[in-house]
Every structure is written in structure tokens, then in C-alpha cells.
Subunit: 425 residues, 2 copies
Amino acid sequence: MTRDDALALDAEDPLAALREQFALPDGLIYLDGNSLGVLPRSTAARVQQVVTEEWGQGLIGSWNAAGWMQLPQRVGDKIATLVGAAPGELVVADSTSVNLFKVLSAALQMQQADAPQRRVIVSERSNFPTDLYIAESLARQFGCTLRLVNSPQEIAAALNADTALLMLTQVNYRTGHLHDMADLSAAAHAAGALAVWDLAHSAGALPVQLNADGADFAVGCGYKYLNGGPGAPAFVWVRPTHVSRFRQPLSGWIGHAAPFAFTPGYQPAEGITRYLCGTPSVTATAALECGVDTLLAALPLGGMAALRAKSLALTRLFTSLAETRCAGHGLTLASPRDDARRGSQVCLARDDGAYAIVQALIARGVVGDFRAGDAADGLPDILRFGVTPLYTRFVDVWDAVEHLRQVLVSGEWQQSRFNQRSAVT
Amino acid sequence: MTRDDALALDAEDPLAALREQFALPDGLIYLDGNSLGVLPRSTAARVQQVVTEEWGQGLIGSWNAAGWMQLPQRVGDKIATLVGAAPGELVVADSTSVNLFKVLSAALQMQQADAPQRRVIVSERSNFPTDLYIAESLARQFGCTLRLVNSPQEIAAALNADTALLMLTQVNYRTGHLHDMADLSAAAHAAGALAVWDLAHSAGALPVQLNADGADFAVGCGYKYLNGGPGAPAFVWVRPTHVSRFRQPLSGWIGHAAPFAFTPGYQPAEGITRYLCGTPSVTATAALECGVDTLLAALPLGGMAALRAKSLALTRLFTSLAETRCAGHGLTLASPRDDARRGSQVCLARDDGAYAIVQALIARGVVGDFRAGDAADGLPDILRFGVTPLYTRFVDVWDAVEHLRQVLVSGEWQQSRFNQRSAVT
């Protein structure tokens, strides 16, 4: 595989034109869309319209005239098409953490009503920490415990008559392991538990089938593969058979059945609207819509299935190039080799220097990120490279691995400037 | 008082130039800044910079390089100067409803630890509904009850040995009644209760002294008098002696002591940072900062005290003109006549037609709003006119009342088109 071969793959890529939707910095190879997606070209003008026209000129009247009141549902319906949900089942709101609080609380109320002896939440020790923190808070409130397993293989065996919930991020943020939503939801149900899924690293990255695969509750992130911008609002979905059974505790006025009746008693709206809480962030939700639209643009070209096929081709190429061209430099593959179990990222482990190598790559214009290991848990330090099939090219992968090879061969990563830690890595 | 007199007041107003900070629609008299503040001239360019430069070019690196990580604290420190709090005591986060959930939960935990027999939350029946809804949810969780009083005069007498919390919006959204924060906080403390304040209609509208006036917890809104834009992030403050005693339940990663250590156990940050939850909305927080800066621009001109003096002059003028020039048309004053008890709005009650009169005024370019009454609770329908001393002129007040007079005299409000209700009123 030569660089020209990679260029040839780009030349014949039927999705190549989708990259034109983005305002990418010149010369940058951005492999961190799993942390913060890139800016769509349409966003700046749309945000400007919201600010100067809808807010500046329309003022309070824009809640009706510009459709602001329906934004959480309208953008939610668009996201629903990407994750196997139906219109009216999903809304945009708050942050992923806040939405996870809502769904975990509702799910625990369900089990309290249906099977009160079930008091264990099962998850992965390497799940994204905010998910574990929110679960820890609710476990305390509901008198439950959190049981963390160390590998995907241990999950099914951990489900038993004590299990209330199985809570997983569909694609593990550290390892890129893609859980089988259908199998694990079925295993949870077979054990009498409910399945709560965080789609942070899967929504917009690969086909998700919430309804078909048996999920009970789901949340997801707006600023990774949905390209909604830094701190974009998140989303929340609840299986229709559950959604109106319980109240979520963040009972703000926008989730009320009649928010503008201004009545003192809380009466939750029917359906997913009850998962809204306070006044929605209009500018941020409008920006998120632009990001979601970049994915909808792929629908005529095969949609999420076509994007997934390209994502797998990109991560296969990255893995194969890294293993051949960077052999002998202490890197080991930490993401799954099996296509069916790999998300849209490649993770490489190294005993030492992973942080500095990532920094040296960034200095060369190749942006991946570093995730610290945990010796106590047997987790290695990780170099993480996310591919985003909407805009990552095969030649980007080729060039990124070549830079990695040069960084390793030259030893330039050992310069002290690459070891200075900053607040966010 | 003639229109020329009003123009003369504007000509000699030392705060008049502050209006230049805003991009107001031509010819509009906007008296709804207590619902959605107007657009500062600086916001569009700043938002564009965040979108195209910081996000578009800086991408993930902007969390450090553009100071995104510190935005909640940086803008929080600015708001602190407006509400009598010290730097480091206040952060921008989430929505008012979500922040109220956090502080009520912490306050109830405090009472559970210190005085578990106290199980009543006292508030006003006409408090903004979302505050009551959130309190209702937490009352259920903590085994408490919500006791709602019908008038400000009943509050002190409602505080007793059962009271856990007094929860009030400092300025009542319906009536414009300004509670005495010092007196009522002292009354709460004398009864052994904690005082929780919502500053939605006071932060940026009048001087607030959270520390000096004995508040225990406070939340506030970014999109009213702080001019942060539709659905802007809100803020949260906790008295320093309380802040690290308890965890708030929305234990997201940004409130963790070391968010980027990615450890599985939640360890809350010290101080107000533990009141953060998920990833902050960068664009929305940057827009809020522009709004807050329009208030900080008043500091050399006397700050909140000078703005308050102008606000009172404006509401006095509105009240006096409405009572003289609109006499005989069935309007009664529903906001306090006493300057010391009036927020930054004038409320007029009418037995019928209030909705249509507001619509007829909007058609003339005078934007106030309507708040429905509740016959069961003896609350009348309200025409609400908010003044914002940063940009409302004396002549705006004169013209608004003249339009109101013409609408009443002509009977034009009785046209059927003014009675068609829309989703948001």
C-alpha cells in the first residue's frame, strides 16, 4: 500500500464529496472528531441568522415565528433517523450527563415498581467516567450498587437476578470496542434487567438501531460525530412503551404538558417531551442541526451503512499501516481487530511516551488524542485516532501513519516540550 | 408630563449612551427584556469568532488555547460582581431549572443532616412554575411537602419549626413584587430554615447582595436582564460555607476534582466548580459573556445602583402615565406602588381583554407580554411591561402608554385577530 494507492481509494470513494460540507483548516489531519467534530460550512451563516435576525430582530416573537419552541423535537427527529428511532421518540436537550441522569432515574423507578429486589447497575470500569459518576449518584439515591466489569466478555455473565440495569456506552471511548446492542440488550432482558445505552461514540459514526436492537433508554452527544460544536446540546430517547410510565426528576417547565398555562402543579407532557427540562439553548441547537444535516446529506449515497463501510475501510487501513510501517516501536493494537466489534477509531497502546508521541504528532498537524491508562486496572496508556467517514480521507490515514513512523524513528517525541501536560489532553 | 418632558429626561440621562451597545430593531418599543433581553452589538462578531476561529480553526485545542475550560468560571466571576458575590463563588452552567435542582437537592441534604425533622419547603403559589415543579420533584424524593403562600405578607408567618427551605424568586415574575432578601433570609434563618433565591428577574435588573443579605443558595437566568440570548446558560451560586459540604446529584465530569484523570469514582471539585455537570456550551456561554459585559459597562457610570435608579424612574413614569392617561378603561395596577418593593416591571390587571390588548400593542410595535390569571387562586390576567434601564428610554415609556391609551380608546383590541392564541404568549 503506497500513498498513491491511498489517493486512488479517495478518487474512487463515492462519499468523497461529503468532505466539501466542512470548513477544515488547511493542511491539518484531524483524527479527533470523536472528541470534537469539525465545523460544517453551513453553521456560521445559520448561527449568524439566529443571532442577528431571529434573536436580534424577531426577539421574543421568534419563539413562535422562527419555530424555536419546536427545535428540540425538530432536530430530535433528524437524529432519530440516524439511530433507528421514529419521529417523536427523541429530543435534543441539556448535556449527555444531565440526560443520563434523567433516563437512569426513570429506569430505576421502573425497576423499583416492577422488580424492587433488583439493585445492581452493571457497567464497564472503562466506561466514560461521567456515565459512572452519574450512575454512582443515582445508585446512592436508590440504594443500589454499581458493579463494574473489566472487559466486554464479562458483561453477560454479570447479569443476574440482582441486576436492575445494564448501562453501556455502545462504543467504548478508550478502546473503540463496539458492543453488540442487540445481543446485550437481549441478555439484559433475559436476566430481567433494562438496557441503557450511551451513543456518544456511535451516533453519526455507524448504524444504530435503538428500536430493532432492543434498547430501553438512550442518550447521546451532539459535539462528536454529530458535528454540533463545542458543548453542543445532547439528546435523549426512551422506548415508547416506557416513556410515559414514569416522570424523570428534572421536571422543568418545558417538559410540562402545558408550559404556558403557568399552573403551579407539574403535569408531565406525554411522550419524550417530558424529558425536556428548562428553556432550550436556541443558538446551540440550531448549530447542532447544521451538524446533523451533514450526516443526512449522506442518505442519498447510502446513509449510515455507506459511512460505516468507509469508516471500517479507514480503520482497517490505519491498523494495517501502523502494524507494518511502525513495527518495532513498541506500539500494540488496543482497538478490536474484528470489524464487527470496532467503532470508528484506532487505539494504539504503548508502555511509555504515549502522551509525548501524541503531542509530537499534533505539532506536525496530525491531531489525535491521548487517554491515560490506569496501572491498577491494567489499562495501558492509549494513542487514540478517530476517523470520521464524512471528512477523513484515505490519504489522511496514510499521511498520519507516516508522521507517526517519522516521530518514532526520529525520536523527536522525546523532546521535553512534548511532555508538558495541559489541562485538556 | 408631556412627550417633550420625556425626551428631556432622556437628554439629561447619564446612562443614555449605554443603549448604543444594543442592536435594537428600528421603531420597536421593546418592554419584554424580562422575558428575552435584546441583542448586544458585540455578540454577533464574538459568536462568529467562536464558531469560525476557535472551533473551526482551533478545534479540540481551543479547550486550552481559547480558554474554553475556564468559561463557566470566567463569566461566572463577571456575574458575581452584579449580584454581590465574590470571584470563585459563582459559575455559569445548564439551565435555571437544572441549577435549581442542584441547589435544592444540596439544601435538602443539609437539612437532612442538620435538622431532619424539617420537611417543608415554603414558596409562593405565584412563583415561576418551573421553580415549583422542580421543588415538587425534590419534595417527593426527600419526603418533604411544598407549602405555597398566596401573598408576600404571608411568607414570614409560614416559617416555623417544620420549615426546611424558603424558596423564592426575588422578583415575582407575575406581579413584579421585589422581596426583601435580607429580611426574608433572616426570617428563614431565625426559623432554622435555609434561603434559596432565584434571581431570574433581579440579576442585572437591580442591585443584589447575595453575601450581605444572607442568601444560602441562588440560581439565575442568562437570557433576561443579562442579555445572553434565547436559552442562554444560567448560573448558580452557593454560600462558601455550604458549598463543599454536600454533593449536588448531577455529578458530571466537569464538576469532578480532576476531570481529565478519567478515574471511575466521583470526587467532587472543591467549591462552586462541583456545581458544573456536563461539557459547557461554549458558543452560548460566549454569547452570555457579551450580554454580561453590557452591564459591566455601566460600572463607571454608577453600576447597578445607577441602573436601579433609572429603572425606578421608568416604572414610576409608566405607572403614573398609565393611571392618568388610561384612566377609566378598567386597568388596575398589579405591581407594587412602593419603589422598594417593585422590580423592573409594571403590571396592569384587567378583568377581560388583557391578552388581546397585548396583541394589539405588539401589532403597533410595543412589545410587552400577557400572563394568564387563575380564577381559583384569585390571580387576575396581567399585562406585563418590563423596563431595562440599559436600553429603555423615557420616551419609550411615554410612547408605550400613549399606544396603550389609543388601543383602549379605539377599541381596536376587540378585533378577532388579536384574540388568536399562539403557543408562546
